[in-house]
């Protein structure tokens, strides 16, 4: 089953994404509140996918992505950002992100993006959690 690490400084966004992923059957192995924490958890958890919020204080999402790419250039990372046409989306893709997720989160489209990157979740785990 694909494992996911969430990196986001906003508690509410972490919870929402966490519950969407859980109910779809993905395993969220960790959530990080800052870029620094995210990099640390990435090194110990080796998740199949990392979702990285762009707007974080101290270390922003691009900084985190660049660091992860240095650690492991095959890392599968998605950038979470507020706008489609943002030049940041283009930047993220050029810098090695596998895609992006638009905030505020919408379950259907974000699950489609994630499926495209790490494949189908475990069907037996679907809807185990109903938040």
């Amino acid at each position: 089953m694909p494992t996911v690490l969430i990196v986001d400084d906003e508690e509410l966004d972490r919870k929402v994404l966490h519950s969407i992923l859980l109910s779809a059957g993905y395993e969220v192995v960790g959530t990080a509140r800052s870029g620094e924490e995210g990099i640390m958890l990435f090194q110990t958890l080796h998740p199949d996918l990392v979702t990285i919020d762009l707007m974080m204080p101290e270390m922003n999402g691009m900084d985190v992505l660049n660091r992860l790419m240095k650690e492991d250039n095959k890392v599968k990372a998605l950038i979470c950002t507020a706008a489609h046409s943002d030049p940041v989306v283009d930047l993220a893709m050029r810098s090695g992100a596998k895609g992006y997720i638009i905030k505020p989160f919408q379950a259907r489209s974000l699950l489609q993006t994630i499926k495209g990157v790490v494949g189908e979740p475990d069907p037996t785990r679907m809807n185990v959690w109903n938040f």
Binding site: N66, D86, D90
Partner: protein, 355 residues
């Protein structure tokens, strides 16, 4: 017409208040004997004002009921009571009442208290709406300003790392400048956001060990820059009252400045101490660094005002504005003394006790 809810367990008293209110043109929507029912009724019919007796028939007294009501709804509560002992008043204060009338009271006082309570409640609601708007404004400003900056920095970085071979040295230097400038602006936006949070976050005043906090901060700074040689002296037993998080931010800024502005000083010295000024304890942070022209002391606390060039001492001019807001939010004062080349001293006061 102003709608009033009366919470009073003695029917005769309740009726007498109600008839007075009617004479002044108020509409009495109900008279209720218990706190429990008052909370329920307040939620259902949302009166403009609630007059609340403190000693009530049920398990919940008037103070508890008022506490519930003000926690859930924006309805001003005025206490009407025969009790004016210290303990009751202290408890009543906690519920944040909009008035406190001791029975027997004059009709005119009742009228004035109700009108003042309504006005204050209206102003508070306005202020809260303005603050909410400001919050969402600064949030979107920070996001909308930061996203393009991240793009500028990121694309410059790609140029720098991937295409450096195609650029002459001068071109690479231009890219370095672009990245420096965008990082500087990113920090500026972050500091502005922090400043606006400092202004509005709720504060919780507790006893603080200023000596201990100062020593910790100085220790961290020394660990961060082991090549610097700074000697410091922190007076023992400096105690004050304040919000732990905010006072730490203030001290970090003051000590950070002392640290920074002694960067070009041989035998740098930083001192944290206190003195008495009349009845008040005044804390100070003193350094022997670059100092500032004494006639410009009042400019120090204005956001973005800098008395040194960025080359000489980096900074964006938000730190002391933040410190001033923190001290003012505690009801304290802050001022500075200094001279060019002779160092700076920042004085500040904190509340003597909580509350």
């Amino acid at each position: 017409m102003t709608q009033v809810l009366i919470v009073e367990d003695e029917a005769i008293v309740a009726e007498s208040i109600a008839s007075k209110l009617r004479r002044y043109g108020y509409e009495v929507i109900d008279t209720i004997p218990t706190g429990e029912e008052a909370v329920e009724k307040a939620g259902k019919s949302r009166p403009d004002v609630i007059l609340m007796d403190i000693h009530l028939a049920g398990k919940m007294d008037g103070i508890q009921a008022a506490d519930r009501i003000s926690g859930q709804y924006h309805i001003p509560v005025i206490f009407l009571t025969a009790y004016a002992d210290e303990q009751t008043i202290a408890r009543a204060k906690e519920a944040g009442p909009f008035g406190y009338l001791v029975k027997p009271f004059r009709e005119r006082d009742l009228y004035v208290t109700i009108e003042m309570a309504r006005e204050r409640s209206r102003l508070e609601a306005e202020l809260e709406a303005a603050n909410r708007e400001l919050d969402s404004f600064s949030y979107s400003v920070s996001h909308d300003l930061r996203a393009p900056l991240i793009a500028i920095d990121g694309f410059s970085r790609i140029l720098q790392e991937t295409y450096a071979g195609y650029l002459p040295p001068d071109g690479i230097e231009c890219i370095n400048r672009i990245r420096q400038a965008s990082n500087q602006m990113d920090h500026l936006i972050e500091d502005f956001l922090r400043l606006s949070r400092v202004t509005r976050a709720p504060i919780q005043v507790i006893p603080l060990d200023i000596s201990q906090i100062s020593r910790e901060i100085l220790g961290q700074m020394a660990a961060g820059e082991p090549e610097r040689r700074v000697s410091w002296k922190v007076e023992e037993g400096l105690h004050g009252f304040g919000d732990a998080g905010l006072v730490e931010i203030a001290l970090k800024n003051l000590l950070g400045n002392a640290w920074k502005y002694t960067g070009h000083t041989d035998e740098a010295k930083i001192q944290v101490g206190s003195m008495m000024q009349g009845q008040n304890r005044v804390f100070f942070v003193k350094d022997n660094g670059a100092g500032f022209p004494s006639e410009k002391a009042n400019l120090l606390f204005i956001p973005l005002q800098r008395l040194h060039s960025h080359q000489e001492f980096p900074g964006n001019g938000i730190g002391l504005a933040t410190v001033q807001r923190i001290i003012h939010r505690h009801g304290g004062r802050i001022w500075a003394e200094g001279a060019v080349g002779e160092g700076a001293t920042f004085f500040f006061t904190l509340p003597d006790e909580s509350g």
